[in-house]
């Protein structure tokens, strides 16, 4: 047993914000023992104690991520040798570095939000080789021929639900994501712009119809995480309208909108590119069924990795350096474009401001999630800086002074004085993500919860505070001490196995055989994918 003594425990899931002790045994938080005499004790007096943080949207695994690794192989270098006990852990963008850096910041669970079912084994092997943290993935549906065929020809909800359930189970995912619904399918038919009411030519189906069908199906199946939607028109001036129309299209069903910042653009001003964050915040306040993550932009070189192949293709002229990968894959495919967000650019500075505006204008920290859409807005390693910007209005002021005045005049950010409290940060990065994903024993420190715990020293400089946790425990084991990772230990990949009628397997066999000439279960992920470690942990659907 371990005793974490005298820390300031911030545990919004249990309404706790007080100095106290935690006891850990068998990987779980447990009741205090009768005697604490022989208990290994960490004196955390003056420290902040939270559950391990959860990132609901970070591209850390899969074919598209590896394509980005290859595309930029000549542009990156490790900064230092890896410690002997942590091979590969300083190799940029490796699964090993990802795991180490997340853990050192106090993150213990990360979700890869765009697993292409035909690439599931590749993605899961990469997740399994990501040390320290627990992982999960969302299965991408909504551009695949089979789904579009079910919606346009069969028009049967049971068949749709069986197909969605089968897809999630085969790909060992924790939820479903739709990315520019119908847009990738339409792009294969040479369509170049695709909005919510545009129609995929061969199927006669609108994007709206696809989103609504998947929303309803995910809800009927009892998948805890609401449908995770990447809207149409990403990155286009005026796309806030698309985001709001998508919220309305949900008709009250639970809906998660991903990286909302990329839809926070109006068409005002000389450059016809303005902030629409206030409209979005108002719409979110009204639509209580909607949650969002931000996709904050930070300045510097990155690579955008997205299964929105249509939007990536249309943006390829902005690639910097000038090279790109476009993949017309099964269903969505994807695109990889290097991009450099520059603090001297009107557009990039305004994108930065719009993300922060969304964080600060959306009042309810239970419904706004902390992401950069890694690596699309910025690498996840910028999280500590972003937390500082949210918690310190003076720091925001210092950044604003250095950015183009033309952009800051178009932003309400200079007028926003709100500062996030530690309690709100704990809601946004711990309690709420666990609730959203259905991981009921994570993101909280109640009795029986998994002992995923992050301990920080409170500092005025919040970037320094969150960059390196004093201690991180994963399932009760110490994995980080004084900001440095201990030897590798392996987390698990959480997934669902929603039930489906076995009859659909016959139907699928016939389809795969005739259309693709291969067995239907060709891309199923087996229960064991590593020789060394047990990887998967099944979670339950709502009943």
């Amino acid at each position: 047993m371990i005793r974490l003594k005298g820390g300031h425990i911030i545990d919004p899931a249990n309404g706790r914000n007080e100095t106290g002790d935690l006891f850990v045994e068998g990987g779980r938080i447990v009741e205090p023992p009768a005697s604490v005499d022989d208990v290994e004790t960490y004196d955390l007096t003056g420290k902040i104690v939270m559950a391990g943080a959860i990132d609901i949207h970070s591209h850390i695994a899969g074919g598209n991520v590896s394509l980005a690794r290859v595309l930029m192989a000549d542009a990156r270098k490790a900064s230092e040798p890896h410690p002997g006990h942590l091979p590969f852990s300083t190799s940029p963008w490796s699964t090993y570095e990802n795991g180490r850096l997340y853990a050192q910041m106090g993150f213990t669970t990360v979700v890869e939000p765009a697993l292409i079912p035909q690439d599931a084994l590749n993605a899961h092997l990469q997740l399994a080789d990501t040390p320290f943290i627990d992982r999960a993935a969302l299965a991408v549906l909504g551009n695949d021929d089979l789904l579009l065929r079910i919606l346009s020809q069969e028009k049967n909800d049971d068949l749709l639900d069986d197909y969605v359930a089968w897809s999630v189970a085969q790909a060992k995912c924790l939820g479903v994501k739709v990315i520019n619904a119908g847009g990738a399918a339409a792009f294969k038919e040479n369509v170049r712009t695709f909005g919510l009411d545009d129609v995929v030519p061969s199927y006669g189906l609108s994007s709206r119809a696809i989103v609504q069908a998947l929303l309803a199906s995910v809800n009927r199946l009892g998948i805890p995480h609401p449908l995770h939607v990447h809207c149409n028109n990403l990155g286009i001036a005026g796309s806030f309208v698309t985001a709001i129309e998508t919220m309305e299209a949900a008709s009250g069903l639970p809906l998660h909108l991903a990286h909302l910042q990329f839809y926070g653009y109006g068409t005002e001003g000389k450059r016809k590119f303005s902030s629409a964050s206030a409209f979005l915040a108002e719409a979110i306040a009204f639509h209580k069924n909607v949650t969002v993550d931000v996709g904050q932009v930070m300045f510097g070189q990155t690579v955008t990795v997205s299964a929105d192949v249509l939007r990536q293709y249309e943006s390829r002229a902005s690639a910097s350096p000038k090279k790109w990968i476009i993949w017309d894959g099964d269903g969505n495919g994807g695109g990889v474009l290097p991009y450099n967000y520059q603090p001297t650019s009107y557009y990039n500075a305004l994108q930065w401001a719009i993300g922060l505006e969304l964080f600060l204008l959306i009042d309810d920290p239970w419904r706004v999630f902390f992401t950069t859409d890694h690596p699309n807005g910025a690498p996840f390693t910028t999280y500590p800086q972003i937390l500082q910007l949210l918690m310190d209005a003076n720091e925001r002021g210092r950044w604003i002074e250095r950015l183009p005045k033309t952009a800051m005049q178009m932003s309400i950010l200079p007028q926003l004085k709100r500062e996030y409290s530690l309690y709100e940060v704990a809601i946004m990065t711990r309690a709420s993500p666990a609730r959203l994903l259905g991981l009921t024993d994570r993101g909280q420190l109640g009795i029986g919860a998994a002992a995923d715990i992050a301990v920080y020293t409170e500092e005025k400089d919040k970037a320094a505070m969150f960059a390196a946790a004093d201690y991180v425990f994963k399932d009760g084991e110490l994995i980080v001490e004084h900001g440095k990772a201990k030897p590798y230990r392996w987390g698990r990949t959480h997934h669902l196995r929603p039930a489906h009628d076995a009859q659909i397997e016959t139907w699928l066999r016939r389809y795969y055989d005739s259309e693709y000439g291969i067995p239907a279960d060709s891309f199923a992920v087996p229960d064991r994918i590593g020789v060394e470690k047990s990887v998967f942990q099944e979670q339950s659907c709502r009943t």
């Binding site: 590896s66 230092e80 091979p87 061969s202």
Partner: protein, 366 residues
């Protein structure tokens, strides 16, 4: 299956111990080979990190040509399944496409998606000696092209696409009308696909194909289908990419992996004398290194491999996917696949031997 120190047969454990001693005595070992499965490559990389070794694991592979193109220029590509179900024009370039299991699946299907009422496909094949037993049963237009002049052929094709005047006698075995025919079909394709095996082309030629697709993409949809016919090499590249952040070729000499196709080329490293010991892995065929390695050598290969110089340690290994379960890239599906063992033969897999070697190396280091 057997293990040898020199010419003397020994237990596998003894061979592994000797191998780890030889590697430990090297200043700069080289781990080279003809690919691996996922678990095998995981172990190779762990050993390389432990020893500070150089790694070149896709010898003679088209994957390296493709890699050069992706890094320099990027790529536009699709899958065999999308090609089968959607491509109304399929241009195949080079003889090796006939070796691809994936192309058979493609040719056996009909482009039922987005083809409207007429689900038919035009297939064109530009290749020297363009006749193959595998492809003979499919209806296609074949043109004998000389691949030694591939850059000229692609330049002519590019000119034809831009409606530039061409000499009637053409180039590279193809006449003007051949070029105009191919260009015309691609320009009017709904979803055109250009299939090739990277080993038939070089990086510059692949780059030219990317440029075609880009140019045609302003008005229609054209994409590429690179057919990987070297699954072990491609698996090694995939595992290396997620494990280290980089594809092979790699050096671990500075205590972290560095990527450099020239510096860490196994042939160059052995010729220059920069490396002083070799671990050679050929898990899928009885193949010795094509380069001369006059240095202590440990070989993990299929039984029956003929070496010009007897390896200091030789361990014969089972075939991943046949003798033992494996996860590796499938040429047919062009994706990672899990395969159950067909025989369940009690032979040690390369991954099992490498894991023993890793354990021994780590024990020695400690």
């Amino acid at each position: 299956m057997a293990a040898f120190i020199g010419k003397k047969e020994v237990p596998v454990e003894a061979a592994v111990i000797r191998a780890s001693e030889l590697l430990a005595a090297c200043r700069m070992p080289l781990l080279a080979g003809l690919g691996a499965d996922v678990d095998g490559m995981r172990a190779v990389l762990r050993i390389a990190a432990q020893l500070g070794a150089n790694v070149d694991f896709c010898r003679d592979s088209g994957s390296t040509q493709l890699l050069r193109t992706v890094i320099d220029r990027g790529l536009i590509f699709t899958t065999p399944r999308e090609t089968r179900a959607r491509a109304d024009v399929l241009l195949m370039i080079g003889p090796s496409v006939a070796r691809s299991e994936a192309i058979i699946d493609v040719l056996e299907g009909q482009p039922v998606l987005s083809a409207g009422d007429s689900a038919r496909r035009d297939v064109l094949w530009l290749s020297p000696a363009a006749n193959s037993d595998e492809l003979a049963r499919f209806d296609m237009l074949v043109a004998e092209a000389e691949l030694s002049g591939i850059h000229g052929i692609l330049a002519m094709l590019s000119a034809a696409m831009r409606s530039r005047p061409l000499e009637a006698t053409g180039f590279g075995g193809l006449y003007r009308q051949d070029y105009e025919e191919v260009a015309g079909r691609l320009i009017t394709a709904r979803f055109g696909v250009i299939a090739f095996a990277p080993e038939d082309l070089d990086a510059l030629a692949i780059e030219a194909l990317v440029a075609f697709a880009d140019k045609l993409g302003t008005s229609t949809r054209v994409t590429l289908l690179p057919l990987i016919t070297d699954p072990g090499g491609h698996t090694a590249a995939m595992v290396s990419t997620w494990t280290t952040g980089f594809p092979p070729r790699l050096g671990f000499g500075r205590g972290y992996p560095e990527f450099d196709l020239w510096r860490f080329d196994a042939e160059r490293l052995t010729r220059s004398g920069e490396c002083d010991g070799l671990l050679w892995l050929s898990p899928f065929a009885a193949t010795a290194p094509a380069f001369k390695a006059d240095m202590p050598t440990i070989a993990l290969t299929q039984p029956g491999t003929t070496f010009t110089r007897t390896p200091d340690v030789l361990i014969e290994t089972g075939l991943p996917g046949a003798d033992a379960p494996t996860v590796m890239f499938s040429s047919r599906h062009q994706a990672l696949m899990s395969t159950a063992a067909a025989t369940g033969a009690p032979y040690p897999t390369p991954a099992a031997i490498l894991s023993m070697l890793l354990q021994q190396t780590e024990t020695q280091a400690a």
